[in-house]
Amino acid sequence: MNIALIAIIAVGGLGAILGVIIGIIAKAFAVEVDERIEGVEDRLPGANCGGCGYAGCSDFAKGVVAEKAVPGECPVCSADDVRSIAEYLGIVAEEKEKMVAVVRCSGDCANTVRSLYNGVRDCRSAVLVAGGAKGCDYGCLGFGSCADACPFGAIEIRDGLAVVHADLCVGCENCVAACPKDLIIMTPAAVDVHVYCNSPEKGAAKRQVCKTACIACRKCVKASGEEDYMLVDGFLIRTNYENPPPPDLVEASACPTSALRLGTKHAAGAYEGASK
């Protein structure tokens, strides 16, 4: 017989036998996998940030396919991504507003009293020792736990103060949980006027430890006129994100401690070269 024929028969026969065995085993050990999960996962950003509340993008994809979650819950996806996932699954996408993080403190090294601290350079550890190395019990500790938690590099520690790069922030909320002082909140990206203070203490007590604390002088409230742009909360004033103030309110109110300021002015030179 021709050697080539034998070779073909031998290899072909071997392949056939092995194929049959694999086929049988595959039947016996079959595992159901929904192909759509992979499809959704491909369309997700793959940052595995956990901002959606699931263990990672793969887990979230499973949730979406199982209709336990909607694509819009992914804080990182752009509107286009969400639409593409919705189209893939044949469901209607919900529009969502882009949110960014804001650190409600403006007490950098130049503006606040600090106590001497000797220990682990991490906010969540520092807060265990006398509340951290800050005169103000509510202020940013500046050790950068939030910056470490940010998978997108959107938080920078500038002169002992955490500053958010709004253009890099995707709103995954990882930093919110990382801050031991609960300073970080999610705000609509369209709003740019924030009160950078979170101390509920009396104005005089705040002024002792911080030059840029909100002393509740209400100048900004007066400047708002009829509109309820600003909300008074004890000795602290907050931006009303339901009815956000226009950027020129900052100038109009002439905040004496400059606790009320534009996001782009949060820290000196914070947005050099940034797109926003």
Binding site: I6, A10, L18, I22, I25, V31
Partner: protein, 226 residues
């Protein structure tokens, strides 16, 4: 030295008789080659650290000890079985039919099917391990260690123990154990390196390769043991 070292292995004697291997053959196997194969394949001629085979999974699956253990198990299984099956096919099919030129082709088919089997079974039995092994499980197919082992068996001199089916199996098993040893050692080192303050330029693969190099240096000490 040989006379002293192998007495303890005599309990295997009956098993080999049972398998129909001749008595004098057993004694020969026991006394001269068994130890050479085991110590040789595991330590002296370690597949990873001495022959530099199977580097891809060695670097890829050694980030975590648990994954490395899983991979080790899978490789031991595939390599032992591949050695056995290939040796049988080689001895009883390819050599009698003078088809040695097909060796590489056939071996790859065998290995690929075995890996396929492992993958299917693993996915059902331990989904977690399946996920953590990820892409590296199918990659065993192209793991040169497995093919290398099988080819080495096939190319062994006719009088060497590796040319028999049981010798080939033992060799495959021991080589895989050597691979597993290197992988597990390396992964525990890498877990430690995770905590280290490695200079930025050397992070990741660079420092892993350096560590592997030093590990290979330590393995050099075994040379000449058998």
């Amino acid at each position: 030295m040989e006379d002293r070292d192998c007495r303890s292995l005599f309990h295997c004697y009956d098993a080999f008789l049972f398998l129909g291997v001749e008595k004098h053959e057993v004694v020969e196997v026991m006394l001269s080659e068994f130890l050479v194969i085991t110590v040789g394949a595991i330590l002296v001629n370690n597949f990873v650290l001495s022959k530099f085979l199977g580097i891809c999974p060695f670097l890829g699956v050694s980030k975590k000890l648990d994954t490395a253990l899983g991979m080790s198990g899978a490789v031991i299984f595939v390599m032992t079985l591949a050695s056995l099956v290939s040796s049988l096919i080689n001895t009883f099919l390819l050599v009698p039919m003078e088809l040695e030129f097909l060796q590489t082709l056939v071996f790859i088919v065998v290995i690929a099917s075995l890996v396929q089997l492992v993958e299917i079974i693993l996915q059902k039995v331990s989904a977690k391990l399946y996920e953590s092994l990820g892409i590296f499980l199918p990659l065993i197919t192209t793991n040169c260690a497995v093919l290398g082992c099988v080819v080495l068996n096939a190319k062994a001199a006719p009088e060497a123990i590796q040319s028999t089916w049981y010798g080939a199996t033992i060799y495959g098993f021991c080589s895989a154990v050597g691979f597993a040893l290197a992988l597990v050692l390396f992964s525990s080192l890498r877990e430690k390196l995770d905590l280290a303050n490695v200079p930025k330029a050397f992070e990741g693969t660079a420092i892993s390769l350096i560590t592997a190099g030093i590990l290979a240096m330590a393995f050099m000490g075994f040379s000449g043991l058998v």
